[in-house]
Symmetry: C2
């Protein structure tokens, strides 16, 4: 090996720390433990039989191109189908506004690649999706956290931050928002709040990155228009993915935006992986065309709604006074707030002893706040496991309260 390999590392690589969360999650790898930690969809929602049928059809009818390189922009059928679905919702887009990416995590890598130099500022919610924060951090972004209220990112606080920057002649490269069933907070932004945020971003001339992986998983309440549609001026990049509404194992996501920005993302993608797998893109396109996507989506929604309801009931039954939680209208996650004095990291260790796990909320906060919070996933565990897991969690919390 070369001497002193560490010295060869790029600034970016030096910034990448072994994430504390990965180390903590290693502890959850023990038999009998019920995990609310990951973000995995339930395998019961995977359309195995339909995929057998479609895989064979695609190979039979379209083998040479399904197994060849795709264009960097993505399979033209899939782009068209996706663009049409969004257009039907009211977005003024065609397939030229859409690039297929290898998972929406890749979008969260390509966007900073195109926009971020070390030290550039961006604005993120307190809390925000960890995978986004990690990627922005790796590119050397300075993240400014804006607190949430029960409607998502607080617009007054956002304006304060933008004004502060404006006053010193700066502006952030973008504002990162997860408006629907936010990960981790489980909160959905109402239309009026979306409009407030858009108006502020227009006033300060700032781009918005709208990350929306759970949008179609709505159990209750009214669907909200995307920020992309409401802004209607090309300043929004809208991210979508099949991971939670179809299968994560295909690694297909997409970015919708102004063609000028999409073009830059395509250029960056070219040297990143040339193109996304044409095989899985063609299967996904057929899966939608055959009507399986929409039909199966209803089943996923029913299943996750049931699970969420079971969890809400179990929370009422087993979590002690002083603990509060969000009740999401969709998605995969909810957020629990413990009493101010409690440290969720300490609770995590007790919880794992009690054979239940979650993700500590601190990791979703770019300013290391949120130490008394935790993210709970309700899509993966079975209903029985949810009840038993919440019971164990309640016991762990009570034990910690008793020790105080």
């Amino acid at each position: 090996m070369v001497k002193d390999f560490e010295q060869l590392l790029s600034e970016s690589s030096k910034r990448m720390k072994k994430s504390a969360i990965r180390e903590l999650l290693k502890l959850t790898n023990k038999p009998g433990l019920i995990s609310f930690a990951g973000g995995l969809p339930s395998p019961l929602t995977f359309p195995t039989e339909q995929l057998k049928e479609i895989s064979c059809e695609v190979l039979e009818n379209d083998g040479p191109s399904a197994l060849q390189y795709s264009t960097t922009e993505g399979d033209s059928d899939l782009r068209k189908i996706l663009a049409e679905r969004y257009a039907a919702q009211g977005l003024k887009i065609t397939q030229d506004n859409l690039v297929i990416v290898t998972s929406s995590q890749q979008a969260l890598d390509l966007i900073p690649k195109v926009l971020i130099d070390r030290g550039d500022k961006i604005i993120v919610g307190l809390p925000s999706y960890l995978g986004g924060l990690q990627s922005f951090h790796n590119y050397g972004a300075k993240m400014i956290g804006v607190k949430h209220d029960k409607y998502g990112m607080n617009s007054e606080k956002l304006e304060e931050e933008l004004k502060l920057l404006h006053d010193i002649g700066e502006k952030p490269k973008f504002v990162y928002i997860i408006p629907d069933f936010q990960n981790p907070a489980g909160v959905t932004m109402p239309e009026w709040r979306r409009i407030e945020i858009i108006e502020i971003c227009k006033k300060y001339d700032v781009l918005i990155v709208e990350d929306s992986p759970y949008r179609e998983l709505r159990f209750e309440g009214e669907p909200q228009k995307t920020i992309y549609q409401l802004a209607d001026d090309g300043r929004v990049l809208l991210l979508g993915t099949f991971s939670k509404v179809f299968v994560p194992g295909f690694r297909i996501g997409w970015v919708i935006g102004h063609p000028v920005v999409i073009d830059r993302i395509v250029m960056a993608k070219q040297s990143t992986d040339l193109c996304t797998s044409s095989f899985v893109q063609k299967i996904a396109a057929r899966y939608i065309e055959k009507g399986y996507f929409d039909k199966n989506l209803q089943n996923i929604i029913s299943l996750y709604k049931e699970k969420k309801d079971v969890m809400m009931k179990a929370f009422e039954d087993y979590l002690p006074e002083g603990v509060t939680w969000t009740n999401p209208e969709g998605g995969l996650f909810l957020f629990v707030t413990l009493p101010e004095w409690m440290d969720a990291e300490e609770l995590f260790l007790t919880a794992v002893e009690n054979n239940v796990a979650f993700v500590i909320g601190k990791v979703f906060h770019c300013d290391d706040s949120g130490k008394n919070t935790m993210r709970i996933n309700f899509s993966y565990a079975s209903k029985e496991e949810i009840v038993e897991g919440v019971k164990r969690l309640g016991k762990a919390i009570k034990d910690m309260m008793d020790k105080k």
Copy 2:
């Protein structure tokens, strides 16, 4: 749209130019044109029937995990199978030395991500694979080109460059080498030259990136040991891929290296796309396990050997005096050198008028040299097209010679 979007771009994005080659290749999109330009494998080599069988098997027996997230390191079966294949060649590795990536292009993105800061120097062959050069350029690497001779990268010239750097207290982050059937030169490095290069890199304590996508496509001559095996001290990163020996449409590649380096690549991959598609990884693992890979590889080799021989014969028959070319022992490409005074870019336009295309050699040279060279692909066109295409190419060259 935001005002002055260009101003928001990162340094890296500003560096990414619309590649001249992409613009040239647009011209080749016309009916009747025979293209020797791309690097596409022949669709005749795609094992469509076997993949129908295996896709169904994988979904039937392993659906829940084939459609779920994989680990960032990659599917454990596939890593084990690949590591064992290399171990059988004599490499001292286990699956801990191997990470699955989403195409070897992703490896060419992750390696500079881990190692390169703007202005860092690296050494590349004159010529070298364009996708590698583009990615290194996007990370801001300063590329130092080392000329090839008929054994690949010239070791004396490599030592000269390393000594020059050493004398000013610098060293490159790595040396980038494609030792087998080099893209674009079609040259294979003999063992003694590999050893010379290794000794020099050991003397100056430099990492080696060994990019080997065509290694298993050997038509004739003796297989050479990998630089990884010959160096045997963990200073080499060895890149492999299924794109040319199985199917490109799966986007599966891998990196073999010292666990310390692999660990850094895994960390970087985590925020880049989380993991590679588990579905295609599981299919690929079964494809090897069932013995289809090795059997089919023989068919690919036979087909490409035939095509190469047809092309060699056509070159003899139709290319005018003063034009020389490499005769590769394997792979997909060969390299043509025109008389010194000729400009391959000018020839390209005439060739396209004559309905034949290639890639101009200049784009593979980090120092813009090689203007009288061109890369020719022989894997994609049919044997009839090869003869006809070379005839047209010969005519275009003669026309240009006559005009002089």
